[in-house]
Structures are given as C-alpha cells and as structure tokens.
C-alpha cells in the first residue's frame, strides 16, 4: 500500500514537471515519500493561505497546491477596478513566492476528481496526486439554471463578473463602450452568495464611473432579495453621492428576475421586460464543481464542516474552507476564507505532526468603498461552537459619520488589501 502510494506519487512528480514549478519537487522525491502529504485544491484566499501556513508551520509536511491559473485576480477590490480606483494588474497575484520561499509544489492543472477511499486527486492532464490530508477550496460555481435563458455562453454578453478576471474586464469594457444616457442593469443574487455587500458596492463604483463620464445614464437594480448587507449605509451613499441615478427594486416589487434574453439585452421580471445597455446578471451560486464531484456537498449545494476546524463532515481526512463551506454566521468573503484557513492549518498540522490544536477563532471585516474617500465597514469575531460557527461580537459603520472618519475607513481598506494579499500569496 505504502509502496503503491509512493510510486504513484512519483508519477505525479513527472506530471507536474510538465506543469510549472517542477524544480522544488523532482529532487526530494524520496524525502517527499517519507513526509506526510497535504494536497490543496484551489489557489484562492482559502487554499493559498492554508498551503502557506502549513508549509510555514512544519518542514515535515510536503504541500502541493493545485490551481489551473498562473495568476489570480482577487474578487475583493475588483469593484474598485470598475470604479477606476484600481488597475486589474494591481489586484492580480502570482504563485512564485509560495513555490520559492515556502517550498510549496504549485501544480497548474485542474483537479477533475477525488478518490476519497484511495486518497488520490485526479488531474486533468493525467496523473494522480496522493494525500494524507486534502483541502478543498473551489470557491463558487454559478447556478446558471436559476435564471431562464442564462448560461456560461450568455455570461459573455451579460457578464456576472462574480469571479474576477476576464469576466470583470468584460464588464468594464461594456461600461466604457456604453453611450451616455444608457441603462446599466444589475441583478444581485439570492442568499447565500459570495460577498454579501459586493453587488451594492459595485452599484456605487459603477455610479461613480457613470457620474464622472456618462452623467445622463441610469442604474436599475433588480434584486432577488428584499433587504441586503449594510443597506442603510449604501442607501445613504446612493442619495448623498449619486442622487437620482440609482433605482433599487426589491423582489417584493418586481417578483425577481425570471428570465434573460442575451440576444436582445432584455431582462424579464414578473410584470415587466427591461432593456439594458449593459446587463450585470449575477445568478444564484453553489460550491465549486470539484466539491460536488468529491461528494462533499449537502443538498443545499454547499459543504458542511466541523466548526472547530473546518474539517468536512463527510470525510475526516478532508477540509473545506472558504465560500464552498457552510460557515453559518460567517459571510462568504475573502477575509473569512483567509481567517478559516488559519484555523484549518492549525488542525491539519495537529493531525500530521502532533502539534497543539488551539481553539477555533475566526474573524471577518468587509470594507466597501461607496465614493472617493468614503469607506464603510462591517465585521465580527466568531468562535467554533458545538453545532456551528457562532458570532462572538460584531460592529458596523454608522450613517452620518464625519467625512474624516469615512476617509480613514477608506484608507484602512487599502492597508487591509496589502496585508491580506501578503498573507495569502507570501
């Protein structure tokens, strides 16, 4: 059994050599077999942070990170790119530090399946990677079928831009090509979804761009919900900075989006068909595909976890971290994912090296930029309870805060971005 695993692992070394960061692994093949093995699927805030903290925590664990992309554009701050406050390059990160400084074997391939009984991850380009502990962090997948007429193909015309990169760039191009006096329609998704304040920060950022460049334009919000995160703060900003530009229509008014027609740029609600110049359609979501393939999801489409460690409730050798997990009170955010990763890394190191397992303490803070030098935030501390992750205490910005305080909050967000990306990518 051990020999088989070792031979198979050697096979993967060959496969990964064709990939990218081969150097670090090819040589210590024998050593690697003696070490315990952590395999991480997904190189976002959850996966890359876990890989880095486990590699940092012990030299006796070999860490393999499987991520198809060579560069990762963060979803957080991608709204600031739409508003013109950030370039796409400034929110895009590589994996070279994780490979060079932490000895992580970064394999740029797609994990297509998991053999949980045999503890193997199957890669798209062939080869299996053996593990002792597995971390699954696939983020979200779109439920295209939640809106009639919407699909991966339709999303090239009506981008969701809810996974950062080409989708975000497509939305930005459409905004730039839009005529002054056009209608930007955004359809925020039903709960639960990635980044609860995200659609509403996006409305602010698009409004900021339009106010400066195409002031006759309008924004129509066809929400799948009747209320949303930081609502009072966003609605205050819409009146204060973009008066008359934004019309928010909750589900109780429209009945929600029933269908879209990409060819005619139309969005159909219960009573109305709205023609959009630019349509940002964000569908309902579920855990990324590999989580379902690996049998880690519940009926809801998300993955149940043990709140004290982020260990999968379906498999004790596997951890699910970030957006794909059911983290109860914690929102699906990059901050949450990064926080959960450190609790999971501690538990993984305890499993593999016998080091001390500390109590689960999680944190989240979400900053939103609502206009130039005007930031708001919401956050909470959490603990791993018996049944679920519970809120310990929380805070939120207030309406009517001074301009100085808002400018300071906006500045804080920049500091956070520098801090968290250093913590994720090294």
């Amino acid at each position: 059994m051990y020999k088989l695993t070792r031979r198979r692992f050697g096979g993967v070394l060959g496969a990964s050599a064709m990939g990218v960061a081969a150097g670090s692994l090819a040589a210590p093949a024998v050593l690697a077999a003696a070490k315990s093995r952590l395999v991480v699927i997904g190189g976002g805030p959850a996966g890359a942070t876990t890989a880095r903290y486990v590699a940092k925590g012990s030299k006796d664990v070999s860490v393999t990170l499987i991520e198809p992309k060579h560069h990762f554009t963060t979803c957080f701050f991608s709204n600031l790119y739409l508003g013109g406050f950030r370039t796409l390059e400034s929110i895009t990160h590589g994996y070279s530090t994780l490979a060079a400084e932490y000895g992580i074997n970064v394999v740029h391939d797609v994990a297509v399946d998991v053999d949980r009984a045999g503890k193997m991850v199957k890669l798209a380009r062939g080869g299996d990677v053996a593990y002792d502990r597995l971390v699954v962090t696939p983020g979200i997948a779109m439920r295209y079928d939640s809106i009639e007429g919407y699909s991966a193909e339709a999303s090239t015309v009506m981008p969701h831009a809810w996974q950062a990169g080409t989708q975000t760039a497509a939305l930005k191009q459409q905004l730039e090509a839009m005529e002054d006096g056009g209608t930007f329609v955004i359809c925020p998704p039903p709960n639960p979804f990635r980044c609860p304040p995200g659609p509403y920060e996006r409305i602010c950022m698009v409004a900021h761009y339009l106010k400066s460049n195409k002031p006759k334009s309008k924004i129509i919000v066809l929400d799948a919900k009747d209320k949303f995160s930081k609502q009072a703060l966003f609605q205050e900003a819409w009146v204060q900075h973009y008066e008359g530009m934004i019309e928010w229509l909750p589900k109780e008014v429209t009945g929600g989006v029933k269908a879209v027609k990409a060819e005619s740029m139309e969005i159909v609600t219960d009573g109305e068909t709205i023609k959009a110049s630019v349509a940002n359609v964000i569908p309902a979501q579920k855990a990324g595909v590999i989580a379902e393939r690996a049998g880690l999801t519940a009926e809801s489409g998300w993955c149940p976890i043990d709140p004290s460690s982020m260990r999968s409730k379906k498999d004790e050798s596997t951890f699910v971290i970030g957006d794909a997990s059911i983290a109860a009170a914690m929102p699906k955010s990059g901050f949450s994912a990064n926080s959960q990763a450190k609790v999971a890394a501690n538990a993984i190191l305890a499993d593999l090296t016998g080091s001390k397992k500390f109590p689960a303490k999680y944190r989240n803070t979400c900053w939103s930029l609502v206009a130039t030098n005007d930031g708001v935030k919401v956050g909470a501390d959490y603990t791993g309870g018996d049944e679920k992750i519970d809120v310990t205490s929380k805070f939120i910005s207030k309406t009517g805060e001074s301009a100085d305080l808002r400018a300071q909050t906006a500045e804080e967000a920049n500091g956070w971005y520098a801090g968290i990306t250093k913590d994720i990518f090294g």
Partner: protein, 131 residues
C-alpha cells in the same frame, strides 16, 4: 497701623492655608496617579507573564490579515517589532475604548481577548521584524 497690621497678617494666614490645601491636593493627585501607573504596570507585567509563544503565533494569524506581517503601514498601522509593554497597553486601551482608541474594529477585537491572549500576541509581535 496696628489694625492695618492685623489685617495684613490675617490675609496671608488664609492664603497659606489655601496653599497647603492646594499642595496637599497636588500631592494626593500625583501619588494616586503613581499608584495607578504602578498598578497598571503590575497588570501589564502579569499579562506578559501569561504569554504562550505557540498560542501567540497561532492567534497572530488573525491579526496579519490586516496588519501587514512585514510592517508595511498602508492605512493600517504596523505592529511588528513594537515593545511588548506598549502592545499590551494599547490593546487594553482598545478593550476599554479609552481616549483615541475608538476604532470599532479594534474595540470589537480587543474585547474578546483574554489576558493570556493579549500577552501571547504582544510577545509574538514584539519579536517580529519589519522588512
């Protein structure tokens, strides 16, 4: 002349009494502050004595999401390499939302930290170096 004298004597006597009272008050205030400062410094020492380095390293993970791990201060203050006493004192000020320490993020965080956790974090961050 005599009347005048008695008057001129009576006034300074009252002033002297006031002066004694004032000096007394000042001394009392100074000594109380000293006692308070002494109590505070004993408290900080006690908190630092509870530090657990492995726990501090684990907990620090939740701080470096915002406070840059190599000391870059881009809108959020750098905390690496600060004296441990200063870190404890600052966290305590946040815990009680004293004076300028009103940032709701830090007040919320500090109120959930035990003495052992504060001591462990202070020891950990004071031992780190900025890049």
């Amino acid at each position: 002349m005599r009347v005048l004298n008695s008057q001129s004597l009576a006034l300074p006597a009252f002033t002297v009494l006031k002066l004694i009272a004032f000096v007394g008050c000042v001394l009392f205030a100074v000594s109380t502050t000293m006692v308070r400062a002494d109590t505070q410094s004993k408290k900080i020492t006690a908190i630092l004595a509870k530090a657990d380095s492995a726990y501090g390293e684990y907990l620090s993970g939740q701080c470096v999401t915002c406070h840059h791990s190599k000391g870059k201060a881009d809108g959020i203050p750098a905390i690496v390499g600060l004296p441990d006493v200063y870190i404890v004192q600052t966290i305590l000020e946040y815990k009680h939302a004293r004076e300028e320490r009103t940032n709701p993020t830090m007040v919320n965080i500090a109120k959930n930290l035990s003495d052992e956790e504060i001591g462990s974090l202070a020891k950990f961050f004071s031992a780190q170096e900025a890049e």
